[in-house]
């Protein structure tokens, strides 16, 4: 068994109202930041999976990403493999 670490990015689906993203955009003028657009605020989950091989590990993460970390009505997800944790 090896430890694999992943990050799951969960973002609001396109076309879904993203109140946080909108709020950030609205506040940008106050910060004197121009030229920023398309702000979307989502979630990032990092986790470590013990598995015999990378494929098995990824399968577990995919299940969690689809069933737990995201709500398919409103969110889409992607998985990224990370370097193993510095400290266990």
């Amino acid at each position: 068994m090896t430890a694999y670490r992943f990050a799951v990015a969960v973002m609001p689906k396109e076309g879904i109202l993203d109140p946080q993203g909108r709020a950030v955009e609205q506040s940008l003028p106050h910060l004197h930041v121009a030229d920023v657009s398309g702000v979307r605020v989502g979630r990032r989950v990092e986790l470590t999976v013990e598995a015999p091989d990378p494929l098995a590990a990824r399968a577990t993460v995919e299940r969690l990403a689809g069933e737990v970390f995201s709500n398919p009505i409103i969110e889409a997800w992607t998985i990224e493999a990370l370097a193993p944790e510095g400290r266990p």
Partner: protein, 771 residues
Amino acid sequence: MTIATPAGPLHRALGLTDAELAAIHERLGRDPNDLELAMFSVMWSEHCSYKSSKPLLGTLPTTGEDVVAGPGENAGVIAIGDGLAVAFKLESHNHPSAVEPYQGAATGVGGILRDIFTMGARPIAVLDALKFGDPSAPRTRHLVRGVVRGVGGYGNCVGVPTVGGELVFDASYAENPLVNVMAIGLLEERHLTRAAAPGPGNLAVLYGSTTGRDGIGGASVLASASFDDASAAKRPTVQVGDPFAEKLLIEASLELIGGGLVEGLQDLGAAGITCAVSETADRAGTGIVVDLDAVPRRETGMAPFEVMISESQERMLAIVRPERLAAVLEVCGRWAIPAAVIGRVTDDGLIRVVSGEEELARIPAAALTSEAIVHHRLSSPPARTRSAPAPGAPEEPGDGLPERGMDPGAVLIALIGSANLGSRAWVTTQYDETVGSDTVEAGERSAAVLRIKGTTKALVAATDAQAQVAVHDPYLGAALAVAECARNVAVTGARPLGVTNCLNFGNPERPEAFWRFAESVRGLGDACRALGLPVTGGNVSFYNESPVGAIAPTAQIGVVGLLDDIGLRVGPAFRAAGDLAVLVGEAGPGLAGSAYAALAGLASDDRPPSLDLGREAALQRFLVTAARERLLASAQDVSGGGLAVAAAECTAWSGLGARLQLRVGMAPAVDLFGESPSRVLVTAAPDDWERLAGLAAAHGLPVRRLGTVGGDRLVIELVGDGATGAAEGRGAGVADAVDVAVADLHHAWRYALPRALGEDADAAPLAVEER
């Protein structure tokens, strides 16, 4: 091992003076080792030892027939009949909130709730008293937003309604906001649980969150000087609250207590395990040996001192008989709470810390707690103070009326539309006020009312401070705060039961700051004695200052009262058109410290209004009796903004106007906007006038019909000899009346706060903030 730090000897780096080190040596009969020094440094901190305040706090009246637990316990407890009791306490979380407003406020709520359920009480309400600087300053806005979100984020999640509090803006709090939180719990008296560790051989069980490096606080010098320099900088001193974990702790703790499974219970707050074991052992006259290796940790490589003084949140220490351990672990397991036996009660009076075969520390429990060092600080009044005249002393009315010539209606709109007096809905809508299904009255009313299921009774609670008066006269400020707070409870018809307090002051090592503290304690004690109220607990927060100066001396008061029959409750809003509006009590001179004075930039030559505690006590007795005799349709106390604002609030809450005539005794500004105490604006059915007036007279209280409720305007005509203020400059004989539309008042009041904070009602917060 001795650690030399860049700042000199270790004890100084830990905040202990040379004299304190000598006192430690005296108690141990030897030099402390580094772990012991760390334990002393946190336990002998002002926060844990009350080393500067203890002698004065001892002067407070703390006893009463129904007092079941007073100061010295985690919270005061007062019996309320039917085998029930109420636990309540007020506590500060000022400094953490200044650093990280969301987490500071959130963990403040968590901490005070633990003090309540540690006693065996289910927390049923939270009140938050918040003080900030100028609302237009970006930093203030950031703090307000974070603190309010933090209070709500924690309280809403644990399911305890936040039902009241205070929000005050004053320049003195700009760098040092105050976050004081009061919590109230209800318990069956037979479940009262003490924070003691009786019975040598019993086990010390730590349950709740695991222990991490958070909140190592002042001792972080130790961290940076010791073993792991590289990671020291990354070490968080900020504590992150986990209300979900706290909710599980509440349920599990009440189940443990209900099942009779614990001999003693203590929450872990400041100084973590060190404080919990030494206080519980000292209270029981026992000792505790702590097995360091048994403490469940969140992080690897923690040094012994880090484990012993960590302030990781949401942890409890239970003292358990060995034969009940399995049952205790079962309850914790069911609530998915980590639990571990970390020590054993002994009969040697010592706190010993062991790891394997090695003994790392050995300190008498008393040396850490009841026999901690006490400082008798120097006290001297500042060069300039303005005290109020003694009650009944002859008084030359100086009204210092800068608003002369201004329409009093416009002044009223400005006051009720100001940040300090406008609607608090911007705050209260962020708090769950109704969870628990007991909230009868909450939010911005003078007092919160919570019915007690299964009885006819209700608990009533309020919190107040009078810091703006205390700036001039700290004795008076504290006494006025007690009077106002108890009055706020009494206007509902409830009988005040007891007082809790949180004393927020500057650096006690400065004689002037200490004088303010001493005067406040004196005022607190005198007022409580006069009103027959025991002080059952509280908290002291010193060092509330910044390079710009100290905060206004702030004695925050909390009062809990009992309404025997919820059916007799009197609300503050006008009830019905045609009711009589009546003033009980009368205005006294003095505008200093008032909202009007702040608005008008008044007149430092004026004084604050005086307080007659005998009259105040009579007024409160009158209110309770009048409610019992069902003579009151509504009752509202006269406080911030004076009589005119009190009437405007009754109007804003009800949508009903009124037409009143006010005899001017002093000067229009004083009668309309002065904040002299011991007055209430009540309404009554016209048929009840005679009885009401008779009852007031029997209590020795002046009473006057002001007019009638109804219509869509609030009109206050000024009559009498002194009624020359506003129009005087124009040569008229009678002052202009207040005459404003109810709708205009309501609008000014409703949008005051979002306007002051630069937010429309529905503008979005600036940053991506915590949920």
